[in-house]
């Protein structure tokens, strides 16, 4: 029997989750969940120090939890098949696939021993193939792993990422072009999470034909920005790609951390009249584009802020204070965002609504104000990324 999401919500049953190792665990008991809620997913750390990926509603009800054997990072979702794949944080080598809408047993799969995941992946539009960013650490270059998502996630091939340290990956609406953030940072599992080539790093945004693995275009940063590691991506339906970076140089020298590019448009960084980069502590953790494509949310957990970018005017629109806010995903209408934090907060934010109690902390560019959480989970620390599953807007 297949249990769909509507059944789950209507009957408000006590749900059980199959663990990675097959042991069931009771999760949410007798919770009334509004049917109109969208579903979200995020990796997290639980109060007891263990790790999991949770599926939750926008109103803050957890409907499924799948334990992970180590810290997770991002996940990807295919709306037709309902499959979610959650990835280990680098240099982990495991991924867990499960169905968002039933309680079937998760599938655990790993990279070959000579590779590890970088925490991100994306499905092809038909859901048959899964593309993942991986490290070929023996040869010190990035690869895109290809997995058969129609079966048991067997690895069926790979092609170069055309750079070092590929991190986030997305696919354009043509269903042919993969976009890869080659962060440029060399790592090796023998060295843990240490960064090994900061003096020579060369980040780039690569557009790759997924049918051949050929490089279609490579957009590079200005040479004086070689310490700016491109990490996270959000593509619009017209194939503009927005990205968030982390700065590996001296904090005080941090340049703009958010930018955009496309197949035929060079990188453009979002400049600001105030020095925003140092204020954000040189780190954007996650980016997401609104359904309207008008707004980009960019989280800066080290600065306890989430910036909202007006993509049409190419300016910072405003910011909300979210302590350790990191995960961002589009919300229930065309403008809204959901935000999660390491302190367990789930926030809903609409950029078009005037900020309550704004202050001019970042004068004169933009206003910032405290966020109002939908719910605070006392027993969960949400990890870097938040994924919207449904319903599609």
């Amino acid at each position: 029997m297949v249990i769909n999401r509507r059944d789950i919500l209507r009957h408000s049953v006590a749900l059980s989750a199959m663990t990675v190792f097959g042991a069931p665990a009771v999760l949410a008991a007798n919770q009334q969940v509004p049917v109109e809620d969208g579903l979200l997913a995020s990796a997290c750390r639980k109060k007891d120090g263990t790790f999991a990926v949770v599926v939750l509603t926008e109103s803050g009800h957890i409907v499924r939890e799948v334990p992970l054997s180590g810290r997770g990072h991002d996940a990807t979702y295919h709306p037709k098949t309902g499959r979610i794949v959650a990835f280990a944080r680098r240099p982990g080598n495991f991924a867990v696939a499960f169905n968002a809408h039933d309680l079937s047993e998760p599938t655990l799969f790993t990279t070959p021993t000579s590779r590890h995941f970088f925490g991100h992946g994306i499905f092809s539009r038909d859901g048959r193939l899964l593309y993942t960013t991986e490290n070929d650490f023996g040869a010190n270059h990035g690869v895109i792993g290809i997995y058969d998502a129609s079966n048991t996630y067997g690895r069926i091939g790979e092609f170069p990422s055309h750079g070092i340290g590929p991190h986030d990956i997305t696919i354009l609406d043509d269903d042919r072009t993969l976009v890869v953030a080659n962060g440029g940072i060399e790592t090796h599992p023998d060295f843990g999470r240490a960064k090994l080539n900061l003096n020579t790093m060369s980040p780039s945004l690569c557009f790759i034909d997924r049918t051949t693995g050929d490089l279609t275009a490579r957009q590079k940063l200005p040479s004086n920005h070689h310490h700016l590691s491109i990490r996270h991506l959000a593509a619009t339906s017209n194939s503009d790609v927005w990205f968030g970076c982390q700065w590996e140089g001296a904090l005080i020298d941090t340049p703009a951390l958010i930018g955009s590019a496309s197949l035929d448009k060079e990188v453009s960084l979002l400049e600001s009249t105030t020095t925003v980069g140092p204020m954000l502590r040189g780190y954007i953790a996650s980016v997401s584009i609104s359904a309207s494509a008008r707004w980009l949310a960019a989280s800066a957990p080290r600065a306890n802020r989430v910036l909202i970018i007006d993509t049409e005017r190419q300016i910072i629109h405003n910011a909300v204070d979210v302590a350790d806010g990191s995960g961002v995903a589009r919300g229930r209408d065309e403008h809204m965002f959901n935000i999660t934090s390491g302190h367990g907060a789930l926030v809903s934010h609409n950029p078009t609504t005037p900020l309550g109690n704004p202050r001019l902390g970042e004068k004169p560019d933009f206003q910032t104000a405290p966020a109002n959480p939908v719910r605070n989970f006392s027993d969960i620390s949400f990890d870097n990324h938040l994924l919207r599953l449904s319903p599609p807007i």
Partner: protein, 385 residues
């Protein structure tokens, strides 16, 4: 009439009363916030002046003395001075242990932390990189300047811990004959002298830069103390203070994970411990005790207890007992002498207490003391990706 007037004016009076009450509470809140900020600012000043600066100055002095001693011993080719070198090395390791948790600002640029000491190193990368360097024949040619072009793993104090040991055949007899700390042999293997001179000069230079960037006019001391909307990094006193709280939790977590857990597993299961810092030169215990002392000192200088004691009275006894336990148990651990890697079972209780109390104190700081002072350290802030 009077009753009528009263009825008419009652809402006005009530509104006025409400406004007064709101004004009072807002003012009281603002005053409290202002007092809180002043309080935090004093704490930052105390931490910077009494915790940070003495330690970065101490590192500058000890690494400089080590560099001078190694250089003169190598020039004199005088094995009799090995003990001087050993003592200076121990002082530098101790000084580094008391600074390494300040992993922000000057220490977080140019990979200074990794260049000063490549830790943790459970897979023996330092040794492997030194062997690679040795085989390339670069030992003899290396200089203080050229070493910065090599792997960060061969540039710092952890490389000094290893270089006597990478030429096993040459020093095997030395090891068998006695305690390696006395027979520290790299000065008797001329091939290693250029590397030792280069490493010690490099660490002294890093420590000098570190001290300068903390203390110069626009340095990190000034930045932390003048945090506010005009500072590009710390936009408020709270942000500056939160950086110090993060340093404390990072210090405790690092001690727990990298210095204690390997010992616990070894003692419990009688397996070799891997990656214990400064193990070969028998300075692991010195390093552990200095690390714990530094964390305790930062904890005491931050003085966050008053924020929470009233609400959580159990902490009034738990916190001092934890601090005492950390000191007592770290002093009681006995380390095996290399090449033995297994920690005696008798150590287990002390190690377990250290594990429990470093983990517990970190958690209390992150979830109780910090938030009570309005300072939070996030899951995603510490090591983002």
């Amino acid at each position: 009439m009077a009753g009528h007037v009263n009825r008419l004016f009652f809402p006005v009076i009530a509104l006025a009363g409400f406004v007064s009450a709101v004004t009072f509470f807002v003012s009281a809140g603002q005053a409290q916030q202002s007092t809180g900020r002043t309080d935090l600012k004093q704490r930052i000043e105390t931490v910077v002046n009494e915790h940070v600066l003495p330690r970065v100055r101490g590192l500058e002095v000890t690494t400089s003395e080590l560099a001078t001693t190694v250089r003169s011993a190598c020039q004199a080719k005088n094995p009799g001075r090995n003990e001087d070198v050993t003592g200076k090395f121990a002082a530098a390791v101790r000084a580094w242990a008391s600074v390494s948790h300040l992993n922000f600002g000057p220490l977080a640029v140019e990979a200074r932390r990794e260049r000063m000491a490549f830790l943790p190193d459970p897979r023996g990368i330092v040794r492997r990189q030194l062997v690679r360097l040795s085989r390339s024949g670069s030992f003899e040619k290396i200089t203080a300047k050229s070493i910065t072009e090599h792997s960060v793993a061969v540039q710092g104090l952890t490389a000094l811990d290893q270089i006597p040991f990478i030429q096993k055949e040459r020093i095997r007899n030395d090891i068998r004959e006695g305690r390696i700390i006395v027979e520290w042999p790299f000065l008797r293997t001329p091939v290693n002298c250029p590397l030792a001179v280069a490493i010690t000069a490099n660490t002294a230079a890093i420590a000098r830069d570190l001290r300068a960037e903390w203390t110069n006019e626009k340095g990190w001391r000034t930045r932390l103390l003048s945090a506010g909307p005009d500072d590009p990094i710390y936009r408020s006193t709270e942000e500056a203070a939160a950086e110090l709280v993060k340093a404390l939790t990072t210090a405790l977590d690092g001690i727990n994970k990298h210095q204690i857990l390997p010992l616990q597993n070894s003692s419990q299961y009688q397996r070799p411990a891997r990656g214990v810092p400064f193990f070969k030169t028998e300075l692991s215990r010195v390093y552990l005790i200095a690390s714990i002392d530094a964390a305790i000192d930062l904890y005491e200088k931050l003085n966050l207890e008053p924020y929470v004691i009233k609400k959580k009275p159990w902490l009034k006894t738990w916190l001092p007992e934890t601090i005492s336990s950390l000191r007592e148990n770290s002093a009681k651990i006995t380390y095996p002498v290399w090449p033995v890697h297994v920690f005696a079972k008798e150590n287990y209780d002390h190690i377990r207490n250290l594990e429990r109390f470093t983990r517990g104190l970190s958690k209390v700081v992150a979830t109780e003391l910090g938030p009570a002072a309005g300072l939070t350290v996030g899951f995603n802030q510490v090591d983002g990706d």
